[in-house]
């Protein structure tokens, strides 16, 4: 990797962004596609997790003829300057402000009943340039810029998505990660990861996807067959090639029953190959401690 610095008289020096892979001349302080700082090396933990690259306040990202400026550090704002031919779509609750001339309209989605019952946004909103429009989410954390190249896709846990350019397709699929508990005649189905996941795909032209994570963000590449256990609510996104299933773990010294939270840990097992990302501030996972009667494909460990 070559750091181009800021010398304008050395245009041949190139820099490949370790986060998004874009090759640039390295004369800017930030990667023009994802905003990652160019002059700061990646921070990798001893265990192999890579921290989301730092981003300077007011960093600019280029896409199409438009660009996006990331403002703030605690709860960052994504401020889009849309050119006439460009547009974005988003869940309407992330809209922070817009110029009056920016038109917004609803984007219909398939499977509205299922989405309604699953708690997913029923309406996706789209905005078309020209003009400024800005978005933020309601948690201290980081904005993750994922430039998608043609043919590239990513699976995102629900409610993480912030905004995407119109040339990225949006779909969703069942996670097939669930278990049921029973107490008397009452049966309850649990989805530790949510019933559905969002899938974003760039079919023909590159696009920009912005996610919001609570806390800090860490990623790692799993090799073929490599596996890792993560807290289900900490998962942010994964490559479509990464498979997942439940894992139950019973600590040593407890009885072999499914009766209480203290006697079992619930994990999400991820199988490579591909990239996975987690966030450090995650929602509390409630387990009512009742007997598990059925579950999706899972592994189990009794210590």
């Amino acid at each position: 990797m070559t750091f181009g610095g800021t010398a304008p008289n050395q245009p041949t020096r190139t820099h490949t962004c370790p986060w998004c892979g874009l090759a640039s001349d390295g004369t800017q302080l930030n990667c023009p596609a994802c905003g990652a700082t160019i002059d700061v090396e990646q921070v990798v933990s001893n265990s192999g997790w890579t921290e989301l690259p730092g981003r300077r306040d007011m960093a600019k990202l280029q896409f199409g003829n438009s660009h996006c400026q990331i403002e703030g550090t605690y709860v960052p704002v994504a401020d889009f300057n849309l050119s006439p031919a460009d547009g974005v779509y988003f869940s309407h609750h992330v809209l922070l402000w817009k110029e009056p001339q920016v038109n917004i309209a609803a984007m219909s989605l398939k499977g509205a009943w299922k989405r309604l019952f699953a708690g997913l946004p029923l309406i996706m909103t789209q905005a078309v340039g020209p003009g400024h429009i800005a978005f933020s989410m309601d948690a201290a954390g980081e904005v993750i810029a994922l430039p998608l190249q043609p043919g590239q896709g990513v699976d995102v846990r629900e409610h993480i998505f912030m905004v995407a350019t119109l040339n990225i397709t949006y779909d969703w699929f069942s996670t097939n990660v669930w278990f049921t508990t029973r107490s008397g005649d009452e049966t309850e189905t649990h989805y530790p990861l949510g019933a559905f996941m969002d899938r974003f795909y760039a079919p023909q032209s590159p696009g920009l996807l912005l996610l919001h994570a609570a806390g800090n963000v860490f990623t790692r590449h799993l090799t073929q067959g490599q596996t890792i256990l993560v807290k289900p609510t900490a998962l942010l996104f994964k490559d479509p090639s990464v498979q997942m299933q439940l894992h139950f773990e019973h600590p040593n010294g407890t009885t072999r029953s499914w009766r209480s939270w203290g006697e079992r840990y619930l994990w999400l097992r991820l199988f490579g190959p591909g990239r996975v990302a987690v966030q450090s501030a995650y929602a509390h996972m409630h387990d009512n401690g009742r007997n598990i009667t059925r579950h999706s494909t899972a592994t189990r460990q009794q210590w």
Binding site: D57, M58, K60, Q69, E71, G72, T73, Y74, V75, P76, V77, D79, N81, H92, L95, L96, W97, K98, E99, P100, I104, A105, A106, M107, S108, L109, A112, L116, L122, I123, T125, H132, A134, S136, M137, D138, A139, A140, A281, A283, H284
Partner: protein, 344 residues
């Protein structure tokens, strides 16, 4: 006396370096008083009429020791001053942070391409001066405002933001009009007062920023309810009813806004914004649409009207999205985390 140009703390002449941040101390220079040096920009100087009876006018010649010397220095070398771009106060040329609002003077103003200026991130342990008292801002994620109140100074605040106090710092209650209305509207029924001499500290229970708003004479600021942390006694406090049923129902902030007005003397107003805070100055007639929950403050000259946009999709009918149209002239402040985040 010497002081640290980074955090504004004062030290005696025997010290060479700041014990807090290691910066080399500089000899105190005559400092012009903020009220004398302030030259309000056009956008901030909208003519306003106080809605509350202003405090009794102060004696025109405030007996501040610095004034005569400041005038001499200013006349001798008018260029050797740094103007704070956030509050417009003048500072001595060696200062690294503004004495009046704590904004770093050695860091470039952060303004987005669309014209939003980021509220200055106050460096940890920076001291702010108001009247004869000081306020030290401690911490950065959930900052604390620690006040050292001098005799004769006081501040008012909502009691739930109080973090700690010296046991001998006197406390009182501000008499307010319209108590029943305030109680019904969910606004604080009681505004507390703390008097000097003594120390008292305040913080809110969320990640965010302290926004220091030195209010210069003749200013009038409307603030989202519960967003104000404290204000000095030089500022009159009242509330205004939000006009229009749509604004009340869909404006995201209830029926009332706090209104702060300065009379003849400047005052200090501290707000707390969730997440990051941005400010934009609207020109006359210019408007911007914002999420109502993101509104933090505005000049009284800025009008606010909630507009609803229907978003429909086939059989399900869709939903309505409410946005507040803010129309200038004046300042508008917004916060980027506009819903209180519950971890569960």
């Amino acid at each position: 006396m010497k002081h640290c140009p980074t955090c504004n703390r004062t030290f005696d002449d025997t010290k060479a370096f700041c014990g807090l941040d290691g910066t080399r101390l500089i000899q105190d220079a005559p400092t012009p008083s903020v009220e004398q040096q302030y030259n309000p920009p056009a956008a901030h100087a909208a003519p306003v009429a106080p809605i509350m009876p202003a405090a009794p006018p102060a004696p025109p010649a405030t007996p501040r020791v610095e004034q005569p010397r400041a005038a001499q220095v200013s006349a001798a070398d008018p260029l050797e001053r740094l103007r704070c771009e956030w509050c417009q106060a003048m500072n001595e040329k060696t200062a690294l942070s503004c004495r009046a609002c704590g904004a770093p003077l050695d860091i470039k103003n952060l303004v987005s391409e669309s014209g939003w200026r980021e509220a200055p991130r106050i460096k940890d342990m920076t001291e702010i001066h108001f009247g004869a008292s000081t306020c030290q801002v401690e911490g950065e994620i959930v900052p604390v405002a620690e006040l050292n109140l001098a005799q004769g100074d006081s501040v008012f605040f909502e009691h739930h933001v109080m973090l700690w106090k010296d046991d001998r710092t006197p406390m009182g209650v501000m008499p307010l009009q319209g108590g029943i209305k305030r109680a019904l509207a969910g606004m604080p029924f009681i505004i507390s007062l703390a008097y000097g001499p003594g120390r008292i500290a305040f913080s809110r229970d969320a990640t965010g920023e302290l926004v220091v708003m030195p209010l210069h004479p003749g200013m009038e600021l409307d603030v989202r309810e519960h967003a104000f942390l404290l204000a000095s006694h030089h500022i009159s406090y009242s509330y205004v009813r939000i006009k229009g049923l749509r604004n009340i129902l869909f404006g995201g902030q209830g029926m009332f806004m706090d209104r702060f007005v300065t009379g003849a003397q400047p005052g200090l107003l501290l707000l707390h914004g969730y997440g990051d805070v941005f400010e934009r100055v609207l020109q006359p007639g210019e408007s911007i649409m914002i999420e109502p929950g993101a509104f933090l403050y505005k000049d009284a000259s800025v009008t606010m009207n909630v507009e609803t946009q229907k978003l429909t999709t086939g059989f399900f009918g869709g939903t309505g999205m409410n946005l507040a149209r803010m129309t200038g002239p004046g300042r508008v402040g917004i916060q980027s985390m506009y819903v209180h985040h519950h971890t569960d």
